[in-house]
Amino acid sequence: MPILIDRDTRVVVQGITGRDGSFHARQMLAYGTKVVAGVVPGKGDERFDGAVPVFNTVAEAVEATGADTSVVYVPAAFAPDALYEAADSGIRLIVGITEGIPVLEMLKVVRYVRERGARLVGPNCPGLLSPGRSKVGIIPAQIAAPGNVGVVSRSGTLTYEIVWQLTRAGIGQSTCIGIGGDPIAGTTFVDCLEAFEADPETDAVVLIGEIGGTDEQEAAEVMRARMSKPAVAFIAGQTAPPGRRMGHAGAIVTGSAGTAAEKIAAVQAAGVPVAARPSDVVGLVREVCAAR
């Protein structure tokens, strides 16, 4: 069982006729994802590529198609409302691809979504890929292969790089999930680690972090205290200048400057090896799996 999405996941694409939405809807369909509906207000009754029905509202799409998951490609100015709409139309998993949503909007969105019992991944994230089963988002399908390593990451292309190296080394993935790099995200490392821990088809986890915030420190605490499965981490940004990304503000709140050094130390202290280079991840995964 992969986490969050599976073969049966029924996806509605919000913004399916837009530039990004249409491209990725086709990619998802090509991968075999059950894209059952699109939503574009005013384009109800149309069909996307002659096949996928388009609705004016998510509620209609859910009622007509049984969609349970939504992926949002709506432009930033309208994206918060698209997230609200998904949450109050009975969608259980919302994947927000859109970047550029103001933080102050997201503070309200995450509460709204949570109160209505839905899960949001993102925004500003590449989404999820459960190789061989389902793809919801924009992670390139060809870099991944089915297997038993869970990958969770705050970044996009760095994730692809590492997943691709795993795949080339013959290490497949249960689910690759990009939670997004924005300061306010619906799903955290901790949420994903807990899901991977509970997933019988995941044997080990690769965590890809970066500077800013304290998500990796919180993840370290979970890996130390509540995870039986082995994990490997890579953390980007050792050479990043301090104080650039939420450095100051974060530091006042947490007393931590969110540097890579702090994060690496925290993860290592939790007994989780940290790769010095992206290309070291493969070896470390082999080691921790063998040692098990």
Partner: protein, 382 residues
Amino acid sequence: MNLHEYQAREIFARYGIPVPPGEVATTPAEAEAVARRLGGRVVVKAQVHAGGRGKAGGVKRAPTPADARAAAERILGMTIKGLTVRRVLVSRAAEIAHEAYLGIVIDRRQQAPVVMACAQGGIDIEEVAARAPERILRETVDPRYGLLPHQASRLAYRLYGDAPRARAAAEIAQKLYRTFLESGASLVEINPLVTTPQGELQAIDAKMVIDDNELVRRPELQALRDVEGEDPGEVEAREAGLSYIRLDGDVGCCVNGAGLAMATMDLIQYYGGRPANFLDIGGSSRPEKVIAALSIITRDPSVKSILFNIFGGITRCDDVANGIVAATRESKLPVPITIRLTGTNEDEAVRILESAGFAAMTDMDAAVRKAVELAPAQPQAG
């Protein structure tokens, strides 16, 4: 986006936060005129996007207009952390009986704005947060409700023992929250929040950082951007839709995606080199972006070697290859370039590059190692 102190205090004043009277000046004569208008003792303060202005000599008290002129003469043109001072704020000097700190930031963990206060002000608040976090008073704001009156009041009574000051501070906290919210800020700070000997509160320094994602819907704030006070490369990058930060090293790099860009910089260091910049061309791969990126990198004289690292997903490798070819068609690159491309349309990209005389690699480690080797070793070079 950072605002200058003089811009932030103007916004604060608009929301009713008491700030001492003052004006910005770009010449010593202007500074003198402002000081004369204000009357009494003034402070002349460098307006640059850098911390530690005081230690760098960028803040001077001036008892007379002539002193203000002299102070401005010394401060204008001064370089603080690599940035040239082009403006000074001339502000009436406050008499200070007590200094406190008041600020609002987003707490990522609680996913909420937090109003913070500290009875010690005018100090490095990050240091207090790290060393003695219990001295920072906090009120977490439910973003759906805003800072409620009792929260402002509770913080104020913890900050000050006396009711008149607590009432005034609560009012300032409420106004500061409105400023924060309505400006789309990710940080606002009053440091120090001063009590005068007469018991009045005044915001002596003002700091505001605007969430870049808010600027689209706030053109009036976007207009406050001081492009002169920024690195020209960073300005050009922003206009081209790129994310660029100049650093001290000599290996210029161009990467798609922030995480991969940081990992690339780290790997340059791992192999003994020093990155000259952070540059993320983002998800799209229009050739113009690649051309702009190359122009920004090559304009930096410290760059001795250029590295492209592209993982094609949405970004198409052939687009990037075409961009490189187009950018180098007219003017030859002054320094060697190493190109690594993999993923979407990788084969096509390699063909394009090779037929234009470039070598293309697909392995990240190998490419980084090579780019580092191509930068001549310089002990402590800049």
